[in-house]
Symmetry: C2
Subunit: 371 residues, 2 copies
Amino acid sequence: MARPITVYDIAAALDVSTGTVHRALRNGEGINPLTKKKVLSMAKSLGYRPNLAARYLSQKKKTKISINTLQGTTSFWDDVRDGIEEEAKAQGIDSVQLEFRTFPNLNEGDEAAFNAAMKNGSDAVIMFPSRPNLLRGWLHNSRRSGIPVVCVATDAPDSGRLALVSVDTNVSGSLAADLIGRFCHGVGSVAVTLSDRGITEHAEKRDSFQSTLEALHPGMKLVATVEDHDDEAETYAKSRELFASHPDLAGIYITTEDSMPVIRAARDMGVLGKLTIITTDLFPALVHEIRNGAVAATIFQRPRTQGRMAFRLLHEYLVEGQVSSQKLTLSPHLITRGNLEYFLKGLSGAVERSSPRRGSHVLDDSASATA
Amino acid sequence: MARPITVYDIAAALDVSTGTVHRALRNGEGINPLTKKKVLSMAKSLGYRPNLAARYLSQKKKTKISINTLQGTTSFWDDVRDGIEEEAKAQGIDSVQLEFRTFPNLNEGDEAAFNAAMKNGSDAVIMFPSRPNLLRGWLHNSRRSGIPVVCVATDAPDSGRLALVSVDTNVSGSLAADLIGRFCHGVGSVAVTLSDRGITEHAEKRDSFQSTLEALHPGMKLVATVEDHDDEAETYAKSRELFASHPDLAGIYITTEDSMPVIRAARDMGVLGKLTIITTDLFPALVHEIRNGAVAATIFQRPRTQGRMAFRLLHEYLVEGQVSSQKLTLSPHLITRGNLEYFLKGLSGAVERSSPRRGSHVLDDSASATA
DNA sequence: TTGAAAGCGATACCAG
DNA sequence: CTGGTATCGCTTTCAA
């Protein structure tokens, strides 16, 4: 293999200076469109690949990345943030500066956080699109419209976001269906809860749950889909309704974090014992319910890994100018009473802890690291 | 935060040259022990952190890493190798040169491969310790004894290896136990197959399988543990014996890749239908058996991620001089008939393909990437 | 054993 | 809009 092509090679080939080459390749401004085109095509034909080490060494200011996420009600977003931070520092070369901005809930502070990031001159954004349909407008309004945005957990379709990192909703839904079918011996009626049918991920989980149930466990029937709108009181009330109108319910699949009100309703109405419950994610209260057998299994969405992948994707874009995939979906982990304790040990306290900690060296969700 | 400390700062503080500082910090040779000590302590007290970009930029020769693994009988090791390669190039800066050496089976060519790596001047090794207890001797015999070795999949205890990457055996075994218990409605006798009790990972899977079974499904009983020594004929024969002597067997947990002979034996003896089988890993033949319902679930050990993590660990060591963890264990993925198809889609053909392919951009096992 | 200086390949800046 | 050159922090080499 020959010596790598450098900016000097390009400059020499065209008899221009490296400054010009650099402007053509990166700045984009203050350069004659014609020269630019020549440089670009020469770079391509020579097979130029920038030397990142040289780039990082000479670059004055780090690229700013704004991380806009929900304040942790559970530990999910804390873990996502940790994952991003871990990956950033695992990069070894800190050419990047992270700025975390959090907002209290789905309708509050999200736009302000986004605008703050824009005003602050962030070069890229990793965010939870709390209101997916609004993102498009924000992006459009922002002066610098080319800014790359990576969405985590939920997509913002047609918003112009660069990429999405989320859990594989089909794997989640179909796994839940197969397990609930097996656990219930293939007979009985089941229900699904989700936040809102309008959220793509939730709808997908429900749909693959249903289709897998029909395909593999035809003796079972999906009798209800509850929309809880992420509201605890609403979830509790609707769950009670559900259990009242379907006293024979055999199982329920909760596609969101909002499982505690459902469990409480079931307990209050005395149907908990005969219900096979499959939940989503993991947090202290849920750990308890798995231990005592109320919840048969939970589908862990690997928030830390979602964060890590989001950073990698962004970094790839910043370096290459493009991403290898616009949608990156992770397989969830299954946690049951059987493997719960081992799993928690692997998480190094990440789930049980109440406040974010530092200095952990876990390289992957549920990877346990022994010093 | 202040300007980072550089070699110049250390040099100035001690009134020596950067050459000397460098020799103290990296070369180790041709330097007065006293000066070296002084530089080292000054570096520490100033909080010196090397600038990797500068290092990579100026370094002439890349560090060589030898990857010593089994030739793929199934796709497991192909995937491990892919994972290593992906991570290496994801690093962006190619300061590393990978050299792959494979050996045909557990007792053949492994030592030669190791010696070849040593003779060739490899700076580090990622390997499958086919004969764990021999590694110690090899490492000792090699002149350059400080060479870092990362083991994948299986440990080589007390060999002096730097670190281990493997799947969490406790999570695997306990998950298998809980599922088999649930699928069999909590009653019946079950068996386990493993390669050899002497292999730590296999013993651990068996043990946590047993203890979880006892704890959560006391109505079930582990009646046999079969050692198959990774030999197909032996596995088949012993499986037949097992089914003959335990005609009432309700389930079996196969902790290794060697599941096909077991399934064949069960089929030949007409007990397949009433058996709940949980296997390990995923390959084309097994895909078929999951589809047709012969296998209830398989525990996927994420070979690609194991490879990625092994590389990261090594890279961390090469950079930092130490690793954050000596044991890195991953949580396995559960695959059932329900989520199999989605899972395969996510693997982008990695499992179904017969020969290694390139150019995929999957960032994590079972992460599906859409361009 | 140590010092001095020349790269590495980008980016940044100042003149023209 | 373009050219020339200093610079980033480390490694490497050559002299002393």
